[in-house]
């Protein structure tokens, strides 16, 4: 037992250092490799060149990604928050358990399957074609369970005494929820949305055949297809050695976007406790 405890101790230190190290390494390495390419023109120009992406920048891809994520969050937000409110404040214990099971199962659905779903229903049957909307739906279903769970967690942290007091005063539930709960957990809700926004921005599997294309102008409607950062990155990588620097730069932009969203989300909830 003595040696086992020693081994555990060592494993725990090493693995923590290793994982934190990998994250740091990814950021530093990508920053280092993209140092020659990354400048303001790269961010603000359209891709050009004989082989697409050889010259120019990634501006349409960035804006496209913003479109995709915004659509996804807008679609997912209300279903998620309504389910969270219902499950937390109205549901009986048995139903709550049932709903949790369903939501966990939703969270485990592979994202490529969501792409298939959106492809048959929105792209094909409903005739939206490859568009930001079709991909947005798939992304929305992907982030919905995560949003729901984080909302519920946010509601859990509201002081139970406040809720009990308002119930005892005979205040209507809807009033209590709209005024008290949403105010108390506003920061957590925003933070959850930010996290999922970043999450949706990085996902490629749901949009790879439902909305993302190799080249387009800056999108002007959500019923058109668009470029997206992960798709652009994937295509650059597929072109092999010649485009490596640009791929690194694109990946670094994506990493920074994710980092920014995470930092904002973190700052919003950090001060509370």
């Amino acid at each position: 037992m003595k040696t086992f405890s020693k081994i555990l101790q060592i494993v725990s230190y090493i693995s923590t250092i290793l994982v934190v190290g990998v994250v740091l390494f990814i950021y530093i390495y990508f920053a280092y490799r993209s140092r020659n390419i990354l400048n303001i023109n790269f961010l603000l120009e359209s891709p050009k060149g004989l082989v697409l992406g050889e010259e120019g920048g990634i501006f349409p891809a960035i804006i496209g990604s913003v479109y995709f994520s915004t659509t996804a969050v807008l679609i997912a937000f209300f279903p998620a928050i309504c389910s969270a409110i219902y499950i937390k404040f109205y549901a009986k214990k048995r139903f709550r358990r049932f709903a949790h099971t369903l939501i966990e199962s939703m969270a485990s659905v592979p994202s490529i399957v969501l792409g298939l779903f959106s492809y048959t229903v929105f792209v094909y049957r409903l005739g939206f074609g490859r568009s930001i909307f079709s991909a947005g739906v798939a992304l929305a279903i992907m982030i919905l369970p995560f949003l729901e769970r984080r909302f519920e967690k946010a509601f859990d942290e509201v002081d139970i005494n406040l809720i009990n007091a308002s119930n005892n005063l005979g205040i209507h539930k809807y009033f209590m929820i709209l005024r008290l709960v949403n105010k108390e957990s506003f920061k957590e809700i925003v933070s959850a949305v930010l996290l999922c926004y970043g999450f949706a921005m990085g996902a490629l599997a749901p949009m790879i055949f439902t909305g993302a294309v190799a080249y387009s102008d800056v999108p002007n409607s959500i019923f058109n297809p668009s470029m997206a950062l992960p798709m652009h990155l994937y295509l650059l990588i597929a072109q092999g050695e010649t485009q490596l620097d640009r791929a690194y730069a694109t990946a670094f932009v994506e990493l920074m976007l994710v980092l920014i969203f995470n930092i904002f989300a973190y700052m919003l909830t950090y001060k509370k406790k």
């Binding site: 199962s105 490529i112 209507h172």
Partner: protein, 287 residues
């Protein structure tokens, strides 16, 4: 007046909630609907256990066997959870027992960051950093099942660690104060009580993480080699998810190929869904 408002409010959220929960039903319905026509062309057993995948006819017979893809999926995710298990137990112990609350928050923030890093970036990272190493060892092109497993390990860590930490926090509350009052070494307690007590939840969270790993598409697809062969540790393989992602763009609507890809999607969906439910049922008994 307020009664009406209350009613409207409750009904609205009820409708949206039902809609949310019924998404799963829609998913199954539409996928199965698109998959069914395949079985006019081939038998279910040929589809599941067949080893040849010839979706487009060049004068030859069409064959839709996804057995190797199923094996590839299981193999890659299995490697990922084996590595993941060692790391996640280590890190979860470290977070729970060696850090104060402030540092814990930082580590959890880093874990959130890992789960937010796009999977394409992980794939790219694996391709650029690990793949050359494997190439030097003698793996052709450097892409192999083991590499995919390693990349996948990093990706499922946040999920595994989060669920393990929940268990460990509970046990810490239960035992650690008493133990430290008795003057017993912390790591001795961890090895002798906390780990044995949490074996069951470790196993369950590992299986759930396995579900996650099976569905991961892009990162795996970029480093696994994508060859339709029996997967070997240092050889190429292909997973169901990468099969769909690679071929969906070229499949003609309503062709057997198209239906076969949907059927593969259904297999993947059912695989993850069933595992998930089984784990949940076992986990519920122990509560």
């Amino acid at each position: 007046m307020t009664d009406i408002k209350e009613k409207i409010f409750k009904n609205t959220i009820q409708v949206l909630m039902v809609l949310t929960l019924s998404i799963l039903v829609f998913l199954f319905y539409f996928l199965i609907r698109e998959a069914m026509p395949l079985f006019d062309y081939c038998k279910i057993s040929d589809f599941l256990f067949g080893t040849e995948w010839m979706p487009v006819s060049f004068g030859n017979e069409l064959k839709f066997g996804i057995w190797y893809f199923i094996l590839g999926t299981v193999y890659v995710s299995f490697i990922a959870i084996i590595f993941g298990l060692v790391f996640s137990i280590g890190i979860a112990l470290f977070i729970t027992f060696s850090l104060n609350e402030r540092l814990q928050k930082y580590i959890f923030a880093i874990l959130d960051l890992i789960s937010a890093i796009p999977s394409v970036v992980f794939g790219f990272f694996g391709l650029q950093v690990f793949s050359p190493i494997f190439f030097k060892i003698g793996v052709k092109t450097g892409n192999c099942v083991l590499l995919a497993g390693i990349v996948l390990t990093i990706m499922i860590l946040p999920f595994m660690i989060n669920s393990l930490c929940m268990t460990f926090f509970k046990l810490k509350k239960k035992y650690l104060i008493a133990a430290s009052n008795l003057g017993i070494d912390k790591w001795y307690i961890i090895a002798s009580i906390i780990i044995p007590e949490s074996i069951k939840s470790i196993v369950l969270s590992t299986i759930l993480a396995n579900c996650r790993a099976m569905g991961e598409t892009m990162a795996v697809m970029m480093v696994v080699g994508n060859a339709k062969v029996f997967p070997h540790l240092l050889g190429k393989g292909e997973t169901i998810a990468s099969l769909i992602a690679l071929e969906m763009g070229t499949a003609i609507k309503n062709s057997p190929h198209y239906h076969a890809l949907y059927a593969a999607g259904v297999v993947l969906l059912i695989l993850t869904f069933v595992i998930n439910q089984v784990v949940r049922i076992i986990g519920r008994d122990s509560e």
